[in-house]
């Protein structure tokens, strides 16, 4: 049988890096083929070359045995290649139907298309309302739109770029069922991910990429997570230290019945949120993004002040009326989700960015800045968190995303705060660096800091947290000790199916 798609020697060179270096790959009809690699390994570049978004510098593509040059995405779609992007390629202010119409080459009537969207989406177990505006949809539903958009074109090859990073475990299973059905119908699927368990559960074959090169192919069913990880990273995965002192019982951050209407029309209203984070404890907030995390964080960081000081207390001090600087004075450190703009000023050097939040660490004398101390702090941060940069005088925007994240998280952690609030602390960071950050957060906790982590990565939360709550639709579930729950239950809560049982008593955390 001829392979549906065969790649020979695909190469793409950028000025600073060779993103893909002579990559070979072949996929048969009906095969689910994993492309496995860390962030920055070149997976996305490879897929964009197949889809005609970017042009390869060298290499051939054989489609059903015939050599082709894929000129642009429209050409790829005509051949029968569909792609679901990692960062969605949707138009937020248009409806589902309009979004899908934009991807259909033939002329089709809007009402007839809406009908087809309904039929096909239900047929594959991913129901959609064609008349909704995309910005009003949750991230998971938006992904359905992308998938249905591809399926309506009856693709012969479907490329999925990290499709599960925003889905609950239940939604992942639904999607896997859909993909298996598609494969049974003869569609080939290229599945890009760095999540090992998913690849073992779903894929027939895997090609592993590291640093732009193929480092091996494997039958995922015959491998273990550890052996796949070794092929992906080149070394064994370190585990976070598990022995840790029992969490403290003294409350550090307390939120009392916080309710707030969202400022933004597309935002989420916060509904009666109460929460306590104790000293020496890591509390995780799980949830699909867009369920109130942004709004809650703005209130916690002080970017949004409240009129009722007692609603938020830090170490017993009313703080809800204070701004960000005053809250930092009470011992708060804060890692926002957006690195550029909120976490760091892109055009300033690493040293200057250190001063912005860490100036309390002895960097101001008689009202003047002491830049040597700031530089020493920046050097310490770069060393401790393995930040890859030219020098501490380089602007922050010369760092890659992962390194920027390490730098910002490190800057906050080294202040030894009484309370650390971190949103997506390892987002976009590769496996090794993520481990460094998690280890540092655990170290902080062991020294008595109260830590609040907001993340969409359930694996991360289960690895580092003592207790978990779930945020959905602006409401919080009662906290539950990590040992007393599992991904399944948390996933249900994330989907909005709140526990009907009473709140778990807080003492259960020590059991």
């Amino acid at each position: 049988m001829t392979p549906r798609l065969q790649l020979e020697g695909m190469t793409k060179v950028y000025p600073s890096v060779t993103a893909c270096d002579r990559i070979d790959l072949s996929i048969m009809p009906g095969e689910i083929h994993a492309v496995l690699g860390e962030n920055g390994a070149g997976k996305s570049t490879l897929m964009k070359m197949i889809y005609g978004v970017i042009r390869p510098d060298a290499g051939h593509i054989l489609w059903n045995g015939e050599p082709v040059v894929i000129r642009n995405p429209a050409h790829a779609r005509r051949l029968g290649i569909g792609m679901v992007f990692q960062h969605f390629s949707l138009f937020e202010t248009l409806t589902v139907t309009e979004n899908i119409a934009l991807a259909m080459d033939g002329r089709c009537r809007a009402d007839r298309l809406a009908g087809r969207i309904r039929t096909v989406s239900e047929q594959y177990g991913l129901p959609l309302d064609p008349n909704r505006l995309v910005h009003s949809l949750s991230v998971g539903i938006r992904q359905r739109v992308e998938i249905i958009r591809c399926l309506l074109q009856e693709p012969k090859l479907l490329i999925m770029d990290e499709p599960t990073s925003v889905l609950t475990p239940q939604a992942v299973r639904t999607m896997f069922d859909t993909l298996r059905r598609l494969a049974d119908e003869g569609c080939s699927i290229l599945y890009i991910s760095h999540k090992l368990d998913e690849i073992m559960a779903l894929c027939h074959r895997a090609t592993i990429i590291r640093g732009g090169r193929v480092t091996g192919t494997a039958d995922p069913a015959g491998e273990t997570a550890a052996s796949l990880a070794r092929m992906m990273t080149g070394h064994d995965l370190p585990r976070c230290a598990q022995d840790r002192p029992a969490p403290g019982t003294q409350p550090c951050l307390e939120i009392h019945r916080l309710s707030r209407k969202a400022e933004d029309q597309f935002g989420t209203d916060l509904d009666d949120i109460s929460l306590t984070v104790n000293r020496g404890e890591i509390l995780g907030i799980a949830g699909i993004s867009g369920n109130g995390q942004q709004e809650l964080l703005r209130v916690l960081s002080g970017e949004q002040r409240l009129d009722t000081p007692e609603t938020i207390t830090i170490n017993g001090q009313p703080a809800a009326h204070l701004g960000p600087a005053e809250r930092r004075g009470l011992g708060l450190a804060f890692v926002p989700e957006e690195r550029i703009g909120r976490g760091a000023v892109p055009g300033l050097s690493l040293t200057e960015n250190v001063v912005l939040t860490a100036h309390r660490m002895g960097m101001v004398r008689h009202g003047l800045l002491c830049m040597e101390r700031a530089a020493a702090y920046a050097r310490n941060c770069v060393r401790s968190f393995a930040v890859r940069c030219g020098s501490i005088n380089d602007p922050v925007n010369s760092l890659s995303g992962g390194n920027m994240q390490k730098f910002i998280t490190g800057r906050e952690i080294l202040q030894n705060p009484a309370l650390l609030i971190a949103s997506q602390p390892t987002w976009g960071v590769d496996v090794g660096a993520a481990n460094v950050i998690r280890q540092a957060i655990i170290g902080l906790r062991n020294r008595g800091t109260a830590v609040l982590v907001i993340s969409e990565e359930l694996d991360e939360l289960f690895e580092i947290c003592d207790r978990l709550v779930v945020i959905a639709g602006g409401r919080l579930t009662p906290p539950v000790p990590v040992a007393a729950t599992d991904r399944e239950e948390i996933g249900l809560w994330m989907g909005g199916m709140f526990p009907d049982r009473p709140a778990v008593p807080q003492e259960a955390g020590h059991a």
Partner: protein
């Protein structure tokens, strides 16, 4: 104020609002594609003088219209090459285009300042123009005014009923997504910029050939800037552009009449009235943040670099 005078003011308001209709609807299409062209005033002026020259030389309105639209498109093409191909800053390029247009039109018009044109005859539509009130208000205008109303209908239909309009709106919302779906972002933006230039040129032709049929240096008198502001305050919706254009025209005419009555208000204050009233009305009716977000092109003014 009696009914006859009111009708007269309303009829005059439609004429006074028409240059804004052309220029603002053209700019609306440009901005919907995500490109901010601040050169409307300059394109209008060059369109006005080229249309005027065409009319003076040939006496043909068609030639005047084609000359004005062509001149506006040529100006827009300069802007397009600068911002879309060479990726220059859109704000600075647009300002430069206006300054260039002011100078170029003055230069081209040097020998035409003392000529008066016959104007464009009104073209009452048979039967319909005999209806009391509505007849003179809607059906007794010149052909350029009818054209502006047809343009409004065409653009509304284009934006919200056709596939091409959908592509244009999507492109202005998320050019990266449009590129990923295989649309030629730069090419479509060129078309939108050229269309905006043609309409600005036509607005100029209306001014110099029909509204006040003569050439005066700088005769657009800020109408290009008002058109730009109308697009924003109308939150990128054609119907509100029309409302704003006629409101502005109406109050301009009204304040002339108030001055004529000899009411003791300084004329400078009255001259401010159209600007204040139009902005106040449009801001008040368009203050819903959700609808603003839905209609404003998210990529406005941001250059798009296609990956290779």
């Amino acid at each position: 104020m009696n009914g006859h005078l009111l009708l007269e003011i309303l009829v005059a308001a439609i004429g006074a609002g028409t240059p804004f209709v052309y220029a603002a609807l053209g700019e609306l299409v440009t901005e919907k594609s995500g490109v901010l062209n601040l050169g409307v005033e300059g394109m209008m002026l060059v369109g006005a003088i080229c249309g005027f020259i065409g009319m003076a030389k040939t006496g043909s309105l068609l030639v005047a219209v084609l000359a004005g639209m062509g001149a506006g498109m040529a100006m827009a093409l300069i802007f397009g090459v600068l911002t879309l191909t060479l990726m220059a800053n859109q704000v600075a390029s647009g300002l430069a285009l206006t300054i260039f247009g002011v100078g170029l039109s003055a230069f081209l018009g040097l020998t035409y300042t003392s000529i008066a044109l016959p104007g464009v005859p009104a073209l009452p539509i048979p039967w319909l123009s005999d209806i009391p009130v509505l007849g003179p208000l809607l059906f007794s205008h010149d052909i350029l005014i009818y054209g502006s109303i047809l343009l409004y209908a065409a653009i509304s239909g284009f934006l919200y009923r056709t596939r091409a309009g959908l592509i244009l709106r999507g492109l202005g919302e998320a050019p990266e997504s449009a590129h990923a779906l295989g649309y030629n972002v730069i090419g479509i933006r060129y078309l939108a910029v050229l269309f905006g230039g043609a309409m600005a040129g036509l607005a100029g032709v209306y001014l110099s050939v029909a509204y006040t049929p003569m050439w005066v240096e700088g005769m657009t008198a800020g109408r290009g800037w008002v058109s730009l502001a109308l697009v924003v305050f109308a939150t990128w919706r054609p119907s509100r552009v029309m409302l704003g254009a006629y409101l502005f025209g109406g109050i301009t005419i009204l304040q002339f009449h108030i001055q004529g009555f000899g009411i003791d208000i300084p004329s400078q204050l009255l001259s401010m009235l159209p600007y204040l009233a139009t902005i106040a009305v449009l801001v008040l009716i368009s203050r819903n943040r959700q609808t603003i977000r839905l209609h404003s092109p998210a990529s406005l003014g941001i250059p798009y670099h296609p990956q290779s």
